[in-house]
Symmetry: C2
Subunit: 335 residues, 2 copies
């Protein structure tokens, strides 16, 4: 005993069990049901439509995975699960897990094929285009944009706190989705005015979200396609979870367009699950890059150094990388 | 900042990325190739048949997941990966990960359906029987039994060290597979003689493994079906990764048969990823029970207290639970 053990490799390799248990729990609405009232196994079985065979094993697995608590046979959400996995709360981040459950879990089953071929493994493989489908269906689009909000909320709070907003008056969020970033920034910095820039079908969802947050006077939507036209001008441009979708020439083109839209002294904020320069720490960022292999023709994630190089090539004079929250960082370039 | 963050739920929910990256690495033979010689990305790309698009992201993901190391651009296995994931070494445990990659990852994609219906989601859903297929095909059977050895090795070493073997002379390993347990016990306790009991097709694979380890004089194979006949008699009976496959009546029947095969003073050792009595710590054991939902008609994992109750009902006078290694424990019953 005391020598090397296979525990790490076995736990990592079988990690899809724990992951899929949580994804199924989100799909089944476990956390939304428990947010309204803690419950015992019998009542949960009925409310969730679970067969009795494994209901208890499933719920106790969620206890062991620290997303549920159980006391005297009564299950309740942990603080985090209640805040982030209850569909009824604005802090819900489960949309991204719903998407992972419905799409990515299966597509990642073809990771080996993706690694051998270099080709994406999503709906495109069957000749359909997930994103075209989503933009054509207002209900699915709403769900997708809400999911994007879930994964942007942490970064938005960190950017509100860490960037020096008092030196600036206006910003454009490029690829704004529902508008989580503009809304979060305005809540902390009411002197700002912001624009959400995204494809035309996003407009109504964005405007509803902004109105719901009482910020329609400060934040407006501008429809456009960032490859086909110039970006709207502002003191600060933000590109979050955008650059990693695209090839290197496309990444550089977008950074160049941001440069053109900024005044002298203006700033570009790029954020993503940016990989550490040594490419050995940020596992999530590296795996996100493999997710771009699964999902896009040419996209990939990048290091802070990569992004700083592209920014300098575009003409930015000062750049820096700053950690935001979890696996995410921002790269800031000043014109 | 400082309040609750969604990091835990997002990391858990997206955990299938890390898991599948390792499973694909095992499938592609990354660790076997690197065990023969450390290599740079270009050479690995060629040896492994990787497309250049994501080869570096894939390998650096494995570095961040701590199964590879990288120095000056040269990748090598970590100590654990080299020992446990190189196919050429007898300590290889990757067989179980190969099986997870080829079968379970996909079947777990139907976990929600399993939880709603109570029905397994493996080949049985398509009307085929994975195990019948395996027992009918000597090559696949050999691979499967080797995989079982991989996951039994840790428990076998712990049982060799923790059970009081000097009081006993003979044992039967019920459901022996390739024979990892008998071989491991004999290496530490040469005074023992052992029997591997399993279905007839297992015989040649078992005998080859025992002969390869130079132990044919001390260990023999006995063919049989543990539901259709009495168990062979010995001082100690061992049932590892057996009971969880079956329903409660079947579990009790097997424990009863073990009792009948033991002399007074004899012992039954049951081991599995036994769930803690409070059902809140051993996530792997609870998830293994969901795996039994995916794989078997009625199987489930159980706590030490459950197993002790069944043993007492069968007539065992003393019982105890002892931790082995990782998520596994043994329950020992004395007649």
């Amino acid at each position: 005993m005391g020598g090397p053990t296979p525990e790490h490799v076995l736990k990592l390799g079988m990690g899809f069990w724990a992951s899929k248990a949580l994804l199924s729990a989100v799909e089944l609405g476990v956390f939304t049901v428990l947010a309204s009232a803690p419950a015992d196994v019998t009542s949960l079985q009925q409310k969730l439509g679970l067969h009795q065979r494994s209901a208890r094993d499933f719920l106790d697995s969620l206890v062991a995975l620290k997303v549920l608590e159980r006391e005297n046979g009564i299950y309740r959400n942990t603080t985090e699960a209640d805040l982030f996995l209850d569909k009824a709360k604005p802090s819900y981040v489960g949309g991204i897990l719903e998407m992972a459950n419905a799409r990515l879990y299966g597509f990642w089953g073809s990771l080996t094929e993706a690694l051998r071929s270099g080709h994406r493994q999503n709906e495109a493989k069957l000749g359909t285009d997930f994103f075209a489908g989503i933009y054509a269906d207002p209900d699915r689009l709403r769900g997708f944009l809400a999911a994007m909000s879930g994964i942007s909320a942490g970064a938005a709070h960190a950017i509100a706190a860490k960037f020096n907003w008092k030196d600036y008056k206006s910003f454009v969020d490029v690829g704004s989705a529902q508008g989580m970033m503009p809304v979060t920034l305005l809540r902390s910095h009411p002197h700002l005015s912001g624009v959400g820039f995204d494809l035309p079908p996003v407009g109504p969802v964005f405007e509803e979200f902004v109105a719901h947050n009482g910020l329609s006077a400060k934040i407006r939507f501008q429809a456009g396609n960032f490859f086909e036209q110039a970006l709207p001008k502002a003191d600060v441009l933000i590109m979050g979870h955008v650059l990693h979708d695209w090839s290197e020439p496309q990444k550089k083109a977008l950074i160049g367009k941001a440069f053109d839209a900024l005044p002298k002294g203006g700033a570009l904020i790029v954020y993503d699950a940016i990989i550490d320069d040594q490419r050995r720490e940020n596992a999530f960022g590296l795996l996100m890059s493999l997710n771009m292999l699964i999902e896009t023709p040419d996209g990939y994630d990048y290091t802070g150094a990569d992004c700083q190089t592209w920014m300098h090539e575009a003409g930015f004079s000062q750049t820096k990388v700053e950690h935001l929250a979890g696996p995410e960082s921002m790269v800031v370039g000043k014109k």
